[in-house]
């Protein structure tokens, strides 16, 4: 499993105007990695304090589960076509 590398959005409206976006999400990976390194100590400190209230385990697991969710996005496709000239496409790959 890996995070989504590219997000493609394509929108075409009835007046024939439309646009396509190719978003290179892989460029955000280093930024996300830095954020994780910075946020991890704070997050786990909070988890440590919440342990007393029985909520610590949830706080420990949550970032991993959230990461798993993001890493499951590749392959997700949503194509909606109201008419041949009115289309929206969202693809994660």
């Amino acid at each position: 499993m890996r995070p989504p590398a590219v997000l493609r959005i394509s929108i075409r409206s009835r007046d024939k105007r439309g646009f396509g976006l190719w978003l290179p999400l892989f460029l955000l990976w280093p930024l996300a990695a830095v954020l994780v390194v910075v946020a991890a100590p704070v997050w786990y400190t909070v988890a440590f304090f919440y342990w007393a209230f029985g909520e610590g385990k949830r706080w420990l697991i949550m970032p991993w589960r959230a990461a798993a969710l993001v890493c499951s996005l590749p392959g997700l496709r949503v194509d909606v076509e109201n008419s041949p000239d009115d289309k929206v496409k969202i693809h994660f790959s």
Partner: protein, 142 residues
């Protein structure tokens, strides 16, 4: 899909039993199907990667094509199971409004796996032809 499995999944959809109870029932009826612990043949478990929803409305020329990775379903349910109580209650309420009476807090990994592997056998075909209208809905796994 066997009649027993269909009946259990219908009971979950109608909110008559919880996800946990459905898991136990599916395990119980799984014995009649050779292949895996969940009762789904190994070949089906390996092949299924996506849940597909196709809607075709020929009258309006509208089409919807959604492909959801099974891994995303799995990860979403697992994340939902550890949400704070107040947030999970809202999610449960929203699901209930849509006809899914599911308690996410009781969704342990084994139950989730059983439900998702059971989904791999799911195929729903709805074909409506009324007064010139032609709409088709297909939900299946691939």
């Amino acid at each position: 899909m066997s009649d027993d499995r269909k009946r259990i999944l219908n009971m979950v959809r109608e909110g008559r039993i919880t996800v946990e109870e459905a898991g136990e029932l599916l395990s119980a009826v799984g014995g009649d199907t050779a292949g895996s612990e969940t009762g789904v043949p190994h070949e089906a478990v390996k092949k299924v990667k996506y849940l597909r929803v196709l809607v075709e409305d020929k009258e309006r020329g509208a089409n919807v094509n959604i492909r959801v990775p099974m891994a995303l379903l799995r990860a979403g349910i697992k994340l939902g199971a550890i949400l704070p109580d107040h947030a999970r209650e809202k999610v449960d309420e929203a699901l209930k409004d849509k006809g899914f009476n599911i308690d996410l807090s009781k969704a342990d990994p084994e139950t989730i796996e059983q439900l998702i592997t059971s989904l791999s056998e799911l195929t729903v075909d709805i074909d409506t032809r009324e007064e010139g209208k032609a709409a088709k809905v297909r939900i299946f796994c691939e």
